[in-house]
């Protein structure tokens, strides 16, 4: 929530006032203060573990349904509302005082209304006896549904007034899945109430331990995943240093591949795999000796073969990474062409693994829109036109289409300093004429040294031309092309 409008303040005030009126009306006869204290403490504990729904979200989530609904069963609406008031005591850094007040009002009101519904459906307030058991389920379920729905509606309302409603639900993470999770946690509310008879005030602690450990385990997993991603990306950058690539090529190919994968509706696990495949697709470049990459003079057949082997080398390196099965095929075949004239295997059409066809599009696109020492970066619309032009011969047309659609909708964040196409509509425009052969060579489908050769008809391809390109592709004057950053340590060591 940013700066709040007057209406938003009024809204927050109204929520708090409604909650206060509910509590003030009483009756307080069913309120057991020891239970309020124990459940309030539990609520504070729950509230203190609140986590953001997603990294960009302004909404956080905590298992507050548990103590609130336990209070509904044990003490009815007023007791539940009093427990809800404890939200204000949550120990966490995130919320501003206004947010804290609103949250407190929201949980108090939700709990109060849930309590009313519980009574309305014929629920009996108090520690449930054995005989209560199947009968309590109906009223409790109604109370839980009401609690969750009111909580969501109030939250939606404040987001709307704080002008965050424009953000799609997926982005703030407020969706059906969260609703279900909330309902799942609500079940533990009735369990706490049921166990109160045997375990007394120790119940909340005992119930909460496994739940907290579960959340801890989930958080551990998320943290490890982030660490993994960061490490892979750092190591890929190290690889890029040797390769004289503009910094971030792997990262951007990874992002482009993910855009395509999402656009064609790949499953989430496959999207994850293609993310890593994108990052790792050029690792094999390291297998090409530096002396070949930087050679002054014609390449021998052997050296040319060494270059063509880089996808295989990449495969050698990453083969041992267990989960990458499908990604491995993508890495190995990302230089294949639809017409069968690629390498290393010369596969054609559908023989080429899907991942490889996706990677090829993203790879070529990033190479075109990045700065090279022999040419500036090309604008997005030109690169798109180029992709279109070679769709069907070099690229899978379906993936080119998917990529173009995604770029038009979400834009493309190229390397820093590269020109952006302000006019995204131009992306679908006509193919700009190729003016010079050199440009076709240099700007073509340059996934590195090699693809530039690919763009040429076979009869024009000679090892000498390839080598000439490679030389111009190396960092003769790094500073001019914004390539200084990754090559600095290199030059430092060369100078000794």
């Amino acid at each position: 929530m940013g700066k709040l409008s007057r209406i938003a303040w009024l809204y927050i005030g109204a929520v708090i006032a409604a909650a206060a009126v509910g509590v003030a009306r009483g009756p307080f006869t069913e309120v057991n203060w020891a239970q309020v204290a124990a459940l309030g403490l539990l609520l504070v504990a729950c509230e203190s573990t609140a986590t953001l729904l997603s990294s960009r979200s302004s909404v956080s989530w905590s298992p507050n349904t548990i103590p609130s609904l336990a209070a509904v069963v044990l003490m009815g609406p007023v007791g539940a509302a009093l427990v809800g008031c404890c939200t204000v005591l949550g120990v966490r850094r995130g919320p501003s005082p206004a947010q804290r007040l609103f949250n407190t009002g929201m949980f108090t009101l939700s709990a109060y209304l849930a309590g009313r519904v519980f009574l309305l459906f014929g629920g009996h307030v108090g520690t449930p006896k054995d005989s209560a058991f199947p009968g309590i389920i109906g009223p409790f379920a109604a109370a839980a549904v009401v609690f969750v729905i009111i909580n969501f509606s109030l939250l939606r309302g404040v987001l709307l007034l704080a002008r965050e409603a424009g953000t799609p639900g997926a982005r703030i993470g407020l969706d059906f899945k969260v609703l279900l999770t909330d309902m799942g946690y609500a079940v533990f509310g009735v369990l706490i109430a049921a166990l109160w008879g045997v375990l007394g005030p120790f119940t909340p602690t005992l119930v909460i331990i496994p739940l907290m450990v579960a959340r801890w385990a989930v958080a551990q997993f998320a943290a490890q995943q982030r660490a993994y991603e960061a490490t892979v990306s750092a190591l890929c950058q190290a690889v890029e240093t040797k390769d004289f690539y503009t910094r971030g090529h792997s990262e951007r190919v990874s992002r482009g591949s993910v855009m395509i994968a999402r656009e064609i509706g790949m499953r989430a696990e496959r999207v994850e795999a293609i993310r890593y495949a994108g990052m790792l697709h050029d690792v094999g470049k390291l297998g090409v000796p530096t002396s070949v990459l930087q050679k002054n003079g014609s390449l021998t057949d052997d050296e040319y073969a060494a270059i063509q082997l880089h996808p295989m080398r990449g495969l050698d390196i990453v083969r041992e990474i267990g989960f990458l099965d499908e990604a491995l095929a993508g890495i190995m075949h990302h230089h294949e062409r639809i017409d069968g004239r690629g390498y290393p295997m010369g596969l054609a059409g559908d023989e080429i693994p899907e991942f490889a066809r996706v990677l090829a599009v993203a790879d070529a696109f990033d190479a075109m829109t990045s700065t090279r020492s022999y040419r500036g970066a090309r604008p997005v619309h030109e690169a798109v036109a180029e992709l279109r032009k070679w769709a069907g011969t070099q690229f899978d047309p379906a993936f080119v289409d998917a990529f173009v659609t995604a770029i038009e909708r979400d834009g493309w964040k190229g390397p820093e300093g590269a020109p952006r196409s302000d006019d995204q509509a131009a992306a679908t425009g006509a193919l700009p004429a190729q003016t010079a052969q050199g440009d076709a060579l240099a700007g073509g489908l340059a996934a590195g040294v090699m693809l530039r050769a690919d763009v040429l008809p076979d009869d024009m391809l000679s090892h000498d031309m390839l080598r000439a390109d490679m030389l111009s592709g190396s960092v003769a004057e790094p500073d001019e092309d914004g390539l200084d950053a990754p090559t600095k340590p290199l030059r430092a060591i060369e100078s000794i």
Binding site: D130, F133, V187, L191, A194, L195, G197, V198, L199, G200, F202, L206, V207, I209, P210, L211, V213, A214, W216, A217, V218, Q220, F221, Q224, Q225, A227, Y228, A230, T231, V232, S233, A234, L235, Q237, A238, V239, T241, K242, V283, G284, L286, G287, P289, T290, S291, Q294, R313, I317, V318, R319, E320, I321, G322, F323, P489, L490, A492, I493, E494, I496
Partner: protein
């Protein structure tokens, strides 16, 4: 065979035997428990068959869903929670639970065996020692609690039952951890104190969840009957799924770093297998010196990536042997490697270890001595540069001798001594 070679064989065979006998002793003990439990139960008759079946089913289900924790540990949280709850039952519904400790052992053991069968069927062998440890832990709790419960020596209020039950759950957890630590000490030649602390550290969150769930199931069985068994397993299931994925990604992480560390080999910067050998050796030295597990993991990462800085060289060093190049250049390579690792932002300690690896252990001018991990990597790297993939013992001995000559300034004497012990045991230099 020369007499010298014969002597070399002795220390190699001896610890292996200890390891085997220690584990088999445990398995035999558990087997005896199992037989005693089953025969006594058969002789006295099964009490409350329905409850026994329900808990046996839960234990089998939990065993089926056992998972691996980081560091090649096995856990079966749901099975453990079920077995402990069965040991700690007081009432089921309105009738008191009267089964004896032998029945707890029998139900737990049979449940575990049934749960292990599907694993066997798909070719995943059961880890008998881990199952045995679980059974012994449950047996301990049952042996103390069943007599108390069956003779109504324990009150019917939570404040009198709970302290006893909590202490028994903790006891069971400690028993399992101590047994696991003993096995690991044997297996990895670590130090028992360090291994036990590692074990407790890894098992603490899961142990807390298992213990709390066991108590919940035991208490809830009184109020809700056997439905409680299913309900309170749910949080453990969530934990288990998350932990499984966590362990998976951790393994992938290590695999990836291992794989990417090989780029230096493929690029011709270092000899094939160098990073893998250095990391293996470094971890062995670290364990020999009693480093705890989290530090060992960082050491392993740092050792795998210690040469990543060489990627910045235009021409590979001949043979990749950094031990042969001048100090200034070693430092530059280390510095660049650290920069690469620091990019990840999550491995700052690792980056620091890599950065300091080229510093001599007794710095002449710059005060502070490098961290232990750096000193270990420095020695392991030098050793591997001198020995390579050779398994020739005389060459290894000569390399250790050479490092020893430099302990005055270059290498940490403590590290070199640990290396020397390892080399003489030949445990890290298997073919």
């Amino acid at each position: 065979m020369t007499p010298m070679a014969a002597r070399r064989h002795e220390p190699r065979g001896f610890p292996r035997q200890v390891l085997d006998s220690g584990q088999s002793l445990l398995v035999i003990f558990a087997g005896v428990l199992l037989i005693a439990g089953v025969t006594q139960t058969a002789a006295l008759g099964v009490r409350d068959v329905r409850t026994a079946l329900a808990f046996g089913g839960l234990i089998a289900f939990g065993e089926l869903l056992r998972l691996n924790l980081p560091g090649d540990r096995e856990a079966a949280p749901i099975a453990m929670a079920g077995a402990l709850a069965y040991a700690l039952l007081i009432n089921v519904g309105n009738s008191p639970a009267k089964h004896g400790p032998h029945q707890v052992v029998a139900v737990a053991a049979i449940g575990m065996l049934i749960g292990a069968l599907p694993h066997l069927a798909v070719g995943r062998p059961a880890r008998l020692s881990a199952m045995a440890a679980r059974l012994v832990a449950v047996a301990c709790a049952a042996a103390v609690f069943r007599p108390l419960a069956n003779h109504s020596l324990i009150g019917s209020h939570w404040w009198s039952e709970l302290p006893v039950m909590v202490s028994l759950v903790i006891l069971a957890w400690l028993v399992e951890a101590v047994i696991a630590a003993l096995i690991r000490t044997d297996l990895l030649r670590g130090r028992f104190g360090v291994t036990l602390l590692d074990e407790l550290h890894v098992q603490l969150p899961l142990g807390a969840a298992v213990g709390a769930s066991a108590l919940l199931i035991a208490f809830a069985a009184e109020e809700m009957g056997l439905a409680a068994v299913a309900v309170f397993t749910a949080p453990l299931l969530v934990t288990q799924v998350a932990l499984r994925r966590y362990t998976g990604i951790r393994a992938t992480y290590l695999q990836t770093v291992r794989a990417l560390a090989r780029v230096t080999e493929i690029g011709g910067y270092v000899e094939t297998g160098h990073s893998a050998r250095v990391s293996k050796l470094a971890v062995s030295i670290g364990r020999e010196l009693g480093m705890p597990e989290p530090a060992l993991l960082e050491l392993e990462y740092a050792a795998l990536m210690h040469d990543i800085g060489q990627l910045s060289l235009r021409e590979p060093i001949p043979g990749g042997a950094t031990v042969l190049v001048v100090r200034e250049e070693q430092r530059r390579i280390a510095e660049y490697g650290a920069e690469v690792i620091q990019e990840a932002r999550v491995l700052d300690t690792v980056a620091d270890i890599v950065r300091r690896q080229s510093d001599p252990c007794r710095p002449a001018e710059r005060g502070e001595e490098p961290p232990l991990s750096s000193r270990i990597i420095r020695a392991a790297n030098a050793f591997d540069d001198l020995v390579g993939s050779s398994v020739e013992p005389s060459r290894a001995a000569a390399a250790v001798q050479r490092l020893r000559l430099d302990t005055a300034s270059e290498y940490d004497p403590q590290v070199v001594e640990a290396l020397s012990r390892l080399v003489s045991r030949r445990s890290v230099l298997g073919p």
